[in-house]
Amino acid sequence: MAEKKIPEVDIIVDEKAGVIKEVKPQQKLRSKKGHERRINGTIYTVLTIMSIVWLVPFVFLVLQSFRSYQLEKGGMVDYLLPKTFSLDNYAFLFEGSNFFSWMGRALLIAAGCALVTALLVHAAGKWLDKRDGNGKAAGIAVIACCLAIGYALMVALSCALHQYALNDCLVKALILLAVFALVGYIVARIYLKQDSKLLRSIPGYVAEDKHEGAKKFGAMALEFGAAFVILQMVLTPMVESQYLKWYGNTLTIALFTAVIQTAIVLSVSYSLSRLRFKGRKLIMNTVLVLGLFPGFLTMITLYFLLKQLGLTQAGSVPGLILIYCASSGMGYYISKGFFDTIPKSLDESARIDGATRFQVFLKIIMPLAKPIVIYTVLMAFMAPWGDYVFASYVAFGHQDGYNVAVGLYNWVNTNDYQNYFTRFCAGGVLVAVPITALFLALQKYYVEGVTGGAVKG
């Protein structure tokens, strides 16, 4: 007790002395804090104002897209909020298209068939489990069978829904079935790949690991969805509105560009990062200098070249894919920098383990470089998605070859531009949707660390 009291007294004494002594420093501290607070306050205020200013056009765009072009005519109006909110503009974008019914049917049937097939596979797995049979072949056969039944069901259902005579689309369906059976076989093999006690894990969700099971089930459902959309495309062509046509063009171009460009950029940067060959430095420097020239300097030359190949106007979609992918290898800088940070000893170790250069790239580097792969895909997708310059002249005058940017611009560039403005806004909002979704879904990869644990450091 006595021991405890003494420090208490000490503290009081200290505090008393401290207060007297430290009056000035504390005051100083406070004023410093106040100063900081004021600066921060100013910065935050400025930033808030800036972000509001920056957001206004977007808010304006979104709001305008809900102003009916039939009820509230006129391009520029002096009020922000539409008097009545309506979906007229969006309806216009899809006018004359069977898109929604097409999509809805497709998804519905695909989901149903996926469910039935999954149940079948589940039952088959349980049956195999009981039989205590072993053997990869049997497992694959059973799964492939179940998948095939599922596909058959799909074909039958879609035929029935569209009230087609079965033999009308029988040939098409048979060909497709063959393709799907092959896909089913591959999928079945993937299901069975990682387990040595394979039959125990046949139906994904019977697997001990629930998460893994869910993933496999998801993969199966996805495969069915994709298969069914393709099936629908073949059996019932979708009728497109003008806008949907442009949207489809843009999507096609962007997806192809994203895939091709990513493949090119990543392999170029990997080679420049890992291989040592004559002229490597020279190539890198030349590309750097060439990259200083803006891409559209080549516009006219490119147009003539594409014209020779018949890839303008009606052929604008493949033509544009070609243009966007053409010099993509020049954008190797960022991913090369990333590859440089992955220890070389991983490559070497894999090569000694028996991998070829390509296998090293695919099996070791790619999984480690996930953030940069995603970054590259995003960038490669974004550029053609929003491009106007190239798209406008390659598809010049040919409406079916426009991409969204060119098409929408043409709407507000007509004599009736006042009236088209709100529809333009609606189109713009829909363009922003996939990009926003992509960014929201993938942003976490930007900062994800990779090589943790690989190398001591």
Binding site: S196, E348, A350, I364, L368, G453
Partner: protein
């Protein structure tokens, strides 16, 4: 399991930097060879050439009876353990070890059997499901070794595998490598800069400096009969003391004179010197610290010096002594041999006298730095 032959192997980097000069070595089947040398001596480069990670500029490399100069690393049937482990961070320990087997399209059962077996040997069975990130340094190194074992390779390469571990773990792993070697009994090539590892692990040691082989021999050989000044200084810790001396020839009899004392050489040494036709000249005399003996009585033929530092290592003392001409000398004196009084007298600045048996002396030519007795 294979023998290895390196003939006139040379490595020239661009800009004409020569990393390895004319490397000749024959490695027997199931031999444990250690490349040792200071950093930048070309030992790692040589190993990487054997692995196929570096091109061979000149000369031939033969594994078994196949010249493999232009064979891809994956086709050389070798396994390598890296200094920084180089584990694949995105897959589990099990998959790390199975990686090479899967590339060889081995059946799942076989892969499982081999991985479990290797894990058993290395005692990492319980970590198989983990990612490398969740392992400690020692465990990671075990996984790296396991990844090499499962392959059952012809040649096992290790590039400073222990230098990232702390001292205690290093000793433990060193012992484990010796045991491992007994179990899997294949050709090992081991690179290190640590002479203790070299001495304890190797059947034969290859000592390198500046891209040249200095000496090849068993640990015993390189310790007892170093070929030149570099080897003498590199092997042994603390390093050998080098003293300026004069070789005196009278008839067939040789003697060494240094710091006013005269040491006659034994008949065997005289014979060697006679054979080489060495006359009387300046030489460098090498004496290992552990061979020096302190003289507390007034024994003749003892060298005198001043004690600068007295390092107490437990079982022995390391005495840093300065001779008359400021040459530093280190003496290793077992603590047990000294009385309490004698130990107390060894303080900074005290004069002491030491001597050494003639049997353990080494003689080097000051110009060529070669041993006169090799």
């Amino acid at each position: 399991m294979a023998s290895l032959k390196l003939e006139h192997v040379k490595k020239v980097y661009d800009k004409n930097v020569v990393a390895v000069h004319d490397f000749n070595l024959e490695i027997q089947d199931k031999e444990f060879i250690v490349f040792v040398g200071p950093s930048g001596c070309g030992k790692s480069t040589t190993l990487r050439m054997i692995a196929g990670l570096e091109d061979i500029s000149e000369g031939t490399l033969t594994i078994g009876d196949r010249v493999v100069n232009d064979v891809e690393p994956k086709d050389r049937d070798i396994a390598m353990v890296f200094q920084n482990y180089a584990l694949y961070p995105h897959i589990s320990v099990y998959e790390n070890m199975a990686f090479s087997l899967r590339l060889r399209k081995m059946s799942n059962e076989e892969v499982h059997r081999r991985v479990c077996e290797a894990a058993e040997i290395l005692g990492i069975t319980e970590y198989l499901a983990r990612k490398p990130k969740a392992l400690s340094g020692g465990q990671r190194q075990r996984v790296a070794i396991g990844r090499a074992i499962v392959r059952e390779p012809q040649v096992f390469l290790m590039d400073e595998p222990l230098s990232n571990l702390d001292a205690k773990l290093r000793n433990q792993m060193r012992a484990e490598i010796i045991l491992l070697r007994k179990r899997i009994d294949t050709t090992f090539i081991y690179v290190t800069h640590d002479q203790t590892e070299a001495m304890t692990l190797g059947d034969r040691i290859v000592i390198m400096k500046d891209g040249y082989i200095q000496q090849v021999g068993t640990p015993q050989e390189v310790f007892e009969t170093p070929k030149n000044l570099f080897v003498a200084g590199f092997i042994g810790s603390p390093q050998m003391n080098f003293l300026k001396a004069k070789l005196i020839k009278s008839g067939a009899q040789y003697a060494v004179e240094l710091y006013g004392i005269r040491v006659p050489l034994s008949a065997a040494k005289c014979e060697k010197l006679e054979k080489k036709g060495v006359g009387g000249k300046d030489v460098i005399l090498g004496v290992r610290p552990e061979h020096a003996q302190l003289c507390f009585d007034g024994a003749p033929n003892a060298i005198e010096g001043t004690l600068r530092v007295n390092e107490m290592m437990g079982s022995e003392l390391h005495l840093h002594v300065q001779l008359q001409d400021n040459t530093p000398v280190i003496l290793r004196i077992p603590t047990l041999e000294l009385t309490e009084q004698q130990r107390a007298s060894l303080i900074y600045g005290s004069k002491l006298r030491f001597t050494f048996p003639e049997k353990v002396t080494h003689l080097f030519d000051p110009q060529t730095e070669e041993s006169l007795l090799y």
